[in-house]
Symmetry: C2
Subunit: 392 residues, 2 copies
DNA sequence: CATCGGCTGCGGAACGTTCCAATTTGGCCT
DNA sequence: AGGCCAAATTGGAACGTTCCGCAGCCGATG
C-alpha cells in the first residue's frame, strides 16, 4: 500500500494512505480519482516519540504510523505467522522510527503470567552461589525469561521481603537457595499460590518442593575415606552452621565414613561456625586447644578450608605437609590456591542448569520434577598431602 | 460498622454489612428494623483466594470482603492518612484473609513509573563486582526499589539484550557497569529516553552520564611510587583488556609515576590480557620471555595479581621475596591470600552506595549528580616485600 | 436554620497490552 | 459474475491498579 504524504505542520505529520469515497461525499477537497475502483482515506497524525508530548510510544502509535491496527502490531511483536511479510516490515520500520519499547507491565496485566522468574540467593557474595546464579541466569535468559536476582544475605526476614517484592511482579516461577533458618511456610505459601518453586542446593525441612542439590553425604564420605586411605585416624570436621540441612548431611557423611572404618567419633573434633574463611581460621585454633593429635580435617566448604589453610600457615604449618585439608564445592579459587585445594567437586553449572530446567518444565505445565541429587567427585590436589607421597 | 454474617453456602460466604431502605422498597425479604433511622444493605460474595476459581485475589476482592470500595483499599495500601483507623484495620484483615498479593504490573501500567531499577553488571562471577552488586542492591532494597540484577558477562550483545529486557519492565533508573566494548549509543539511547543512568566503575568514552568510579590513575601512581621507594627500577604492568577505560587509567598512572621518577618506559614490560587469574599466570611467563631483570609488577586487578603470584610459585619463586606484586581493588581474597596481597584498596561499598544514591536522586527529579571519583588507598601487605625489610 | 469546611469514602476513566470473534481481502474454482 | 475458503486484518472487551472529581456526613459557624 503506497503512502501519499501530504504535508507536515511543525512536528505533526499528516499522511494519506489510501483514498476511497466517503459515505457523504469525498473527504475535504480530495478529487475523486478517475477510474479508481475502490479507495480509502486514512488521515493519520504522527508524533515521533515524545516530541510534542513527553510520552513513550505505544502499540497504538506504531499502528497509526504503520497504517494498521493495534492488533496487527501485537501480532507482529509475537512474530505470529498470520501477518503478511510486507505488513510485518512496515510495522518494524515504524517501531524503529518511533523508538518503541514494549511495555511488559501492560502485557502481564492482560496475560495470566509474565516472563520473569525469581531467583533468590542466600549469599551472592559467596563465589559458589555467585557462580550458581550466573549459570541459572544464563539458562533463563536464553529461554526468554527475565530472571530477577535478589540476595537474601542469609536473613529470613530479608528473604521474605524480596520474595514479596518479586511476587508482586507476578513471576512465572522461583528458584530459591533458602536462607538459613527459613521457615517452611515461607516456601509453602508460594507453592500453595500455585507457583512453580525449585529449591537449589539446600532443602528446607518440612517443605514438599522439588530440590536440586549435590550429594552432600556421599561427598563427605568420599573425602573422609580418602583421608583414611592416606593413613589418617584423627580427623576433624570444620562445619558450617550446624542448623542447616547441608551441614547436617556433610557431617553425616563424615560420621558414616568414620563409623564404617570402625572408628569412634570424638565430638570434640566436630567444630561448627559460619561457612567463611574467618571461621575456618578460628576453627583450627579451637581445634588445637582441644586436641593436638589431629592430622586431617574435612571442611564444610572451600571457604572454610581456605581459612584453615591460612590459619595453619599463621602457625607456621603447611596444609598438605603438616595437616591434610579437604574442602567442599570446588570453587574457582580452590584450583588456584596455594597449596591447591583438594575438594569435593560439585558440578555447580550442571546443578544450576538442572534447577532452571526444572522450573521451566513446571512453568510449561509439566508435573513437578523429582528432586535431583547431583553426583559429586573428590578432586585430589595438594592440600590433602596425597601428592607428596604417603601422608605424615 | 458491625458485620452480620448471614450464611455460608459451600465456599461462598454471603454477608450483610448494613441495612438501609432501598429506593423501591426493601431488599429481598429483609424486614424494616423498627426505629432504624438509616440503613444500607450490602450483599457480598466472598471467594477466599482461588477456591472456587483459580485466580489471584485482587483489590476488588479485598474491597468486597472488607465492605469498602476499591479506591479505599488502594488508599490503605499506600498508607494514605485519608482512611480511618478502623477502616484500615478491616482492610488489612481482609488482605490477610484472602492472601492478597499486590499486582505491580497493574500499578505500573497506571503510574508513569515503576519501582524497579536495573542493575547491569559486566561480570557477576568476579568477586569485586559481586561485592559491588550486593552493596548497591541493599541500598535500593531499603529505599523501596526492586533491583533487577543482570549479568552481561562482558558481552555488549548480551548487555543489549538484558537492557532491553529490563527496559520493558519500565524501570525508574539504571546502574550499569558497562561491558567491555560497549558502544556509546547503547547508553545514550537510555538517557535520551529520559531514564536516569549512572555508570559504575567504568566510564564509556563519548557518553555524558554520571559516573562513579575509583581514582584509577592515582591508585596506580601510588602503587608504583611505593615500588620505587622500595628500590625497584624495572617494574612491569600486568594489564587487563587494553581497550577499557579502567585499564587506560591504571596504565596511565603507572606511566606517570615512572616518568615522574625520570625512568623511561619499556613497552615490553606492559603486558595485556584478560583481567583473570589465568591471564596473570600467563603474563608472568610472557614477562620472563622478554626480560629477566624485572623485580616488581603492578597488576590491573587482584585476580591478575593472584595469578602472577601463582605463576611465580610454579617457577619456585615467592611473591614478596623474589618479586614484588601489587594488585588493585582489594577484594576479600586479597587479605586472605598467601602471601597477603598488597593492593590498591577501592572502597567498593562506598562507591556502590554513592552510585545508588545518585540514581535515587535522579529518580526523585534532582539534577544529575556530578561524576564522582573515589579516593583510593594503597594497602601494604606482604606481596610487595615491604614487610620483609628492604626489597631484594 | 442555612452554610461551610474537614474528613472519609466512592465511582469511573484511564493506562497499554492480549485475545477473541468478526470482518475484509484475495485467490481460485465454477 | 458468483461463491467459497483461507489468509489477513480489525475492533472491542478485558486485565488490576491509580487518581481525579465528587458526595455524603459531621460539627462549627454565621
Amino acid at each position: 500500500m503506497p503512502v501519499f504524504c501530504l504535508t507536515t505542520i511543525g512536528t505533526i505529520q499528516i499522511r494519506i494512505e489510501a483514498i476511497e469515497p466517503s459515505r457523504d461525499g469525498l473527504a475535504g477537497g480530495i478529487r475523486r480519482l478517475p477510474g479508481e475502483e475502490r479507495a480509502k482515506v486514512v488521515l493519520s497524525v504522527d508524533d515521533p516519540a515524545g516530541q510534542t508530548r513527553n510520552r513513550r510510544a505505544t502499540l497504538v502509535d506504531i499502528a497509526r504510523h504503520a497504517g494498521v491496527s493495534k492488533s496487527t502490531v501485537s501480532l507482529v511483536l509475537q512474530s505470529s505467522p498470520l501477518v503478511r511479510e510486507e505488513t510485518r516490515e512496515r510495522v518494524h520500520r515504524a517501531i524503529d522510527a518511533l523508538g518503541y519499547v514494549y511495555n511488559r507491565s501492560a502485557a502481564n496485566l492482560r496475560r495470566a503470567q509474565s516472563n520473569v522468574v525469581g531467583m533468590v540467593i542466600n549469599d551472592l557474595g559467596n563465589p559458589f552461589f555467585a557462580e550458581l546464579a550466573v549459570g541459572i541466569e544464563r539458562v533463563f535468559q536464553t529461554a526468554g525469561f527475565v530472571p530477577l536476582i535478589a540476595n537474601s544475605a542469609e536473613s529470613p526476614i530479608r528473604q521474605a521481603e524480596v520474595l514479596r517484592s518479586i511476587r508482586e511482579q507476578g513471576p512465572a516461577g522461583f528458584i530459591i537457595c533458602p536462607a538459613r533458618g527459613t521457615q517452611p511456610t515461607a516456601i509453602d505459601d508460594l507453592i500453595r499460590g500455585g507457583l512453580p518453586v525449585v529449591l537449589a542446593m539446600r532443602r528446607v525441612a518440612g517443605v514438599r518442593a522439588t530440590c536440586v542439590a549435590p550429594d552432600n553425604r556421599d561427598g563427605a564420605r568420599k573425602a573422609v575415606e580418602h583421608l583414611l586411605r592416606l593413613g589418617h585416624r584423627r580427623i576433624a570436621y570444620f562445619g558450617g552452621f550446624a542448623d542447616t540441612v547441608a551441614d547436617g548431611e556433610r557431617q553425616g557423611g563424615y560420621r558414616d565414613a568414620l563409623a564404617a572404618a570402625g572408628l569412634a567419633i570424638d565430638e570434640a573434633l566436630v567444630i561448627s561456625g559460619a561457612p567463611t574463611r574467618e571461621s575456618g581460621m578460628q576453627g583450627i585454633d579451637r581445634l588445637w586447644a582441644v586436641a593436638d593429635d589431629v592430622t586431617a580435617g574435612l571442611c564444610f566448604n572451600d571457604l572454610v578450608a581456605l581459612g584453615v589453610v591460612a590459619g595453619l600457615r599463621r602457625q607456621g604449618r603447611e596444609a598438605g605437609r603438616d595437616f591434610a585439608v579437604i574442602g567442599f564445592d570446588d570453587i574457582a579459587e580452590a584450583r588456584h590456591a596455594s597449596p591447591a585445594l583438594t575438594t569435593v567437586a560439585v558440578d555447580t553449572k550442571a546443578l544450576g542448569e538442572r534447577a532452571a530446567q526444572a522450573v521451566l518444565g513446571m512453568i510449561q505445565g509439566n508435573r513437578p520434577m523429582e528432586s535431583h541429587v547431583g553426583a559429586v567427585d573428590l578432586v585430589v590436589r595438594e592440600s590433602c598431602g596425597a601428592r607428596l607421597g604417603e601422608a605424615m
